[in-house]
């Protein structure tokens, strides 16, 4: 039995300690956000945040995340109350098939939480580990730039409530 802090809630999971975090998120905890892409840390579809840093959840066994804070796309906001990063991707219509998008969002979230004023070039560099095959890159970059602005104003309620 291991205790995992996922999106601020403690979950007790029965899985073998060597199980990659991705499988526990998707199966034991029935969360869809992190995706299996390669299992090799080459594509970033599985990206989540651990203690504020973007990691490949397909590579990290759960025994290494006990006592750490894991954040997934589900922890940003909900479909009814989306977070700035999610609002930005909806507003920019930044998806085609969308399979890579939650991984993109979590890597961008990790960047902007640590560097709220990250430049456009830094955003591009930060996203380098993540692959998109549909060719949605231009929109993903625009969405992260928009999220950067939305996150700055998130504390001060905007006239429209910051919602899409």
């Amino acid at each position: 039995m291991m205790k995992l802090d996922i999106n601020g809630a403690i979950h007790e999971v029965e899985a073998d300690p060597s199980t990659p975090l991705l499988y526990v998120l998707r199966n034991d905890l029935e969360m869809n956000g992190a995706k299996f892409g390669c299992g090799l840390g080459q594509c970033g579809a599985c990206t989540v945040m651990v203690d504020g840093k973007a990691v490949f959840s397909c590579l990290v066994p759960i025994m290494l995340v006990e006592g750490r804070k894991v954040k997934t796309v589900e922890g940003l906001g909900t479909i009814d109350d989306p977070a700035p990063m999610q609002i930005a991707f909806i507003e920019e219509q930044a998806a085609q098939c969308g399979y890579c998008i939650p991984g993109m969002m979590m890597r961008a979230q990790a960047l902007l939480e640590s560097r709220p004023d990250a430049s456009d070039a830094e955003i591009r560099t930060a996203l380098e580990p993540n692959l998109c095959r549909c060719g949605t890159h231009m929109r993903i970059l625009r969405a992260v730039q928009r999220a950067r602005e939305l996150m700055k104003t998130a504390a001060a309620p905007a006239a429209n409530g910051g919602k899409a």
């Binding site: 899985a15 073998d16 199980t19 990659p20 499988y23 199966n27 029935e30 969360m31 869809n32 956000g33 995706k35 299996f36 892409g37 390669c38 299992g39 090799l40 080459q42 594509c43 579809a45 997934t72 796309v73 589900e74 940003l76 906001g77 909900t78 479909i79 989306p82 999610q86 609002i87 991707f89 909806i90 507003e91 920019e92 219509q93 998806a95 085609q96 098939c97 969308g98 399979y99 890579c100 998008i101 939650p102 969002m105 591009r124 560099t125 380098e128 993540n130 692959l131 998109c132 095959r133 549909c134 060719g135 949605t136 890159h137 231009m138 929109r139 970059l141 429209n160 919602k163 899409a164």
Partner: protein, 749 residues
């Protein structure tokens, strides 16, 4: 785009098509052949004069049902592949039915519920299904107005449909649900149906937020990979190390004893393991792979000698076009040879499926592009009647053509047969997708053309060597599981077939005005490397070759490349996209700074779908061989633009994907095995190589037929990149891809 541009649809519960809605309707029971994509003869449509897919499925209630409570359900045989068609098809129906798109429940490809529209392929969803739904919806509205007219005793001209009701003089109002009697819509489509005029559109051409994006960015169930059915178990397959390997020895007992393992499924050379937990299945798969000994043989061609392999393997020559005289003389003749390697679909999410056998009925949830053909092949593989097999489309990762989807569905079905009553979820591993998906075929193109003294092309010879570009189901032998299992269904044999829309010969005929031309497909029937449809089929390499060669001819003629193309083009829509692209790009023939270049290209996809022109500016670092595309401008005309932002999204995506193919991509193999087993062995575009800007301009033509757009950018992008490199360096690269090694070798670094 900002939020105010995208009024969102109301959210709907995610529907796995689990059978909550049961309706009966008439479907014409024949499998559609897809233009140029399916082997064999094309059955004639039931009603050839009807527009779009109505020709195959003419009954209105196969497309649109209205319940007594006014609920509207629209059915399409096409699948959402990430193009946004779950949204744009709702827009089309909503326009003619005079309701909001959010009022429409849309059911996509499901063999128990929807029309058979063959494959979701060839950029034809809006063209075929959209057109059918448009006409059906318009006719349904007219039927409802007629019913209301009778009911109210008021001429139909005095009635109007609005918001799901028919409104008349003096406040008269009847809901659609009140007007539909049983079988009211069980009538055939009328080809004389009048559509709404473009100046009355409320929905078509207007920006609507895609219905699927909110769930996809918040962790909602969106993909077949996300399905969790009660009592579901997890399976993994173990593939042979090479296409023709056979299983020589296996000790499965130790694997059966592993934690959570429920079964090892072995059928001939087909191997799979089933476990309670997914990671248990992965671990058991690894153990099973280690426990298996395969006998392999060297059956692949020499990758360094593909040109001679293609030439010696071609068994017949098909004439794609033969116009005008032979052996025309002119002022100058040039020739060239181009090569395209085998290239991958490379879906980010490996193929997956869920299947369940219950009471002799097999249900399969799959991201296939063709639920009906896939059902036929799987039914044959399982020796089950097709009516006992149901294939339900659920979205997967983007496919860009025939990837592993059908095969994963077959794997799931074959494994589920061993565990009746339990839903079986199969997901491929990365190396299985990379090694076993059918690749876009390698091709060779040879061109020879003659210019007259005035700088016009007077003679054109074009020869291409290629396999078929479709091995889609098909028979059970089109499925990996069908081939590997003990019955060893044989692969469907490929035949040369020249069709107007093309296959390997897609876009082999230049749209330019050339009086004398000979175009031939040297057909290669044997397929030692597994191949099938990859976005654009032959169009990618043919347009790359033609557009590269057009620039060489322009140089010989001393002409600007854009002017040279316009000189040979009379089609006003083609000219328009070229002119818009050149204007927006700021095209000129002025010299560029050293190692910078600009390139231009054009094609009308399939010579009958969207018109697309593109201009690219790039920089070449001769020392590293690194190419960096900085700016891209494109103009596209796909007829009436239903969802302009989706057209831009698809076109941007096509440009970036084609840049990736063109810059980096080639499947590698030795004499026995494919070796491109992951993203390090088969690199694709990453953010550092993404251009600074891509501007896509939609040239809208309201009221004109829909022209498919999703694949239109693949060929022109490669041509423009090639021409920009030529412009920057004075050298041309003929063989794809433009790897750093090839760039350095070409520049003599």
């Amino acid at each position: 785009m900002n939020a105010s541009n995208f009024p969102a649809f109301s959210r709907r519960g995610f529907l796995f098509g689990s059978g909550a809605l049961v309706v009966s309707f008439s479907i014409v029971p024949h499998v559609l052949a897809q233009e140029g994509e399916v082997q064999g003869a094309t059955p004639a449509p039931a009603e050839p004069d009807l527009p779009g897919s109505l020709g195959d499925t003419p009954s209105l209630d196969a497309w649109i049902r209205i319940e007594a409570d006014g609920g509207i359900t629209v059915f399409t045989g096409k699948a959402e592949l990430g193009q946004g068609t779950k949204t744009s098809l709702r827009q089309i129906a909503a326009e003619e039915l005079e309701v909001e798109p959010a009022a429409i429940n849309l059911i996509t490809a499901d063999t128990a519920l929807t029309p058979n529209e063959g494959y979701t392929a060839g950029s034809q969803t809006i063209q075929n299904s959209g057109t059918a739904i448009r006409y059906a919806a318009a006719q349904v509205r007219q039927i409802l107005l007629g019913q209301a007219s009778e009911r109210l005793g008021v001429p139909a001209e005095q009635l109007r449909a609005e918001g799901g009701r028919v409104l008349g003089p003096g406040g008269a109002s009847l809901g659609y649900g009140e007007l539909v009697a049983e079988n009211l819509l069980h009538v055939n489509a009328d080809p004389a149906t009048v559509l709404k005029a473009p100046d009355t559109y409320r929905v078509i051409g207007k920006p609507f937020a895609r219905v699927d994006i909110p769930a996809k960015v918040t962790g909602g169930e969106a993909y077949v990979q996300d399905m969790r059915l009660p009592d579901m178990v997890h399976a993994r397959v173990v593939r042979p190390p090479s296409y023709t390997a056979s299983l020589a020895e296996l000790d499965e007992q130790s694997i059966e004893a592993m934690p959570g393992v429920l079964a090892v499924v072995r059928d001939g050379d087909f191997l799979a393991v089933v476990a309670e937990q997914e990671f248990q299945a992965v671990q058991a798969m690894r153990a099973l792979a280690a426990a298996a000994r395969w006998e392999e043989r060297a059956a692949l061609p020499d990758q360094q000698q593909l040109a001679s392999f293609y030439e010696s393997s071609a068994t017949e020559v098909g004439s794609v076009s033969s116009v005008g005289g032979e052996a025309i003389s002119g002022a100058k003749t040039i020739e060239a040879q181009f090569m395209r390697p085998y290239q991958m679909h490379g879906s980010i999410g490996p193929s997956a499926a869920v299947a369940m056998l219950e009471d002799d009925r097999m249900t399969i949830w799959t991201h296939t592009q063709g639920v009906y053909p896939d059902r036929g092949a799987i039914a044959q593989m399982l020796a089950m009647p097709a009516e006992n097999v149901r294939c339900i489309h659920v979205e997967g990762s983007g496919c860009y053509g025939h990837n592993g989807a059908d095969d994963a569905a077959a794997d799931a079905a074959l494994i589920a047969r061993a565990l009746p009553g339990r839903p079986v979820r199969v997901q491929w591993m990365r190396e299985q997708e990379h090694l076993w998906e059918p690749y876009g075929p390698g091709m060779m193109m040879r061109t020879r053309a003659t210019l007259d003294a005035g700088g016009k092309i007077v003679d054109w010879h074009y020869d291409l060597w290629s396999n078929t570009h479709s091995t889609r189901p098909g028979s059970a032998g089109s499925l990996i599981a069908g081939r590997l299992m003990g019955r060893h269904f044989p692969q469907d044999s490929a035949t040369l077939r020249i069709s107007p829309l093309g296959n390997g010969d897609r876009n082999a005929i230049p749209l330019y005005e050339i009086p004398n031309q000979r175009i031939n497909w040297h057909f290669i029937p044997d397929m030692p490397v597994r191949v099938s449809a990859l976005r654009g089929l032959g169009a990618y390499a043919n347009v790359y070759s033609i557009e590269s060669f057009m620039d060489e001819l322009a140089l010989e003629a001393g002409a600007d490349p854009v002017e040279f193309r316009l000189r040979h083009m009379t089609d006003p829509r083609a000219r328009k996209v070229m002119e818009v692209t050149a204007d927006e790009f700021g095209w000129s023939s002025d010299p560029m700074p050293e190692r910078r270049g600009r390139g231009f290209a054009f094609a009308k996809y399939k010579n009958h779908a969207a018109y697309l022109a593109i201009a690219i500016e790039m920089e070449v670092d001769a020392d590293t061989g690194l190419l960096r595309v900085s700016h891209v401008v494109s103009a596209v005309d796909c007829g009436e633009a239903v969802a302009p932002d989706s057209i831009i999204n698809q076109t941007e995506g096509g440009i970036l994907q084609s840049l990736s193919w063109t810059l980096y991509e080639a499947v590698h193999f030795n004499d026995t095995r494919v070796t491109s087993s992951d993203w390090s062995a088969y690199p694709i575009l990453r953010f550092s190589a993404v251009p600074d800007s891509i501007d896509v301009h939609v040239v809208d033509n309201p009221g004109t037929p829909y022209l498919g757009v999703a694949e239109a950018a693949q060929g022109p992008t490669a041509g423009a990149l090639a021409n920009a490199f030529r412009n920057a360096t004075g050298k041309r690269i003929y063989d794809l891809p433009y790897t750093r090694e090839r760039v350095r070798a070409t520049l003599g670094v």
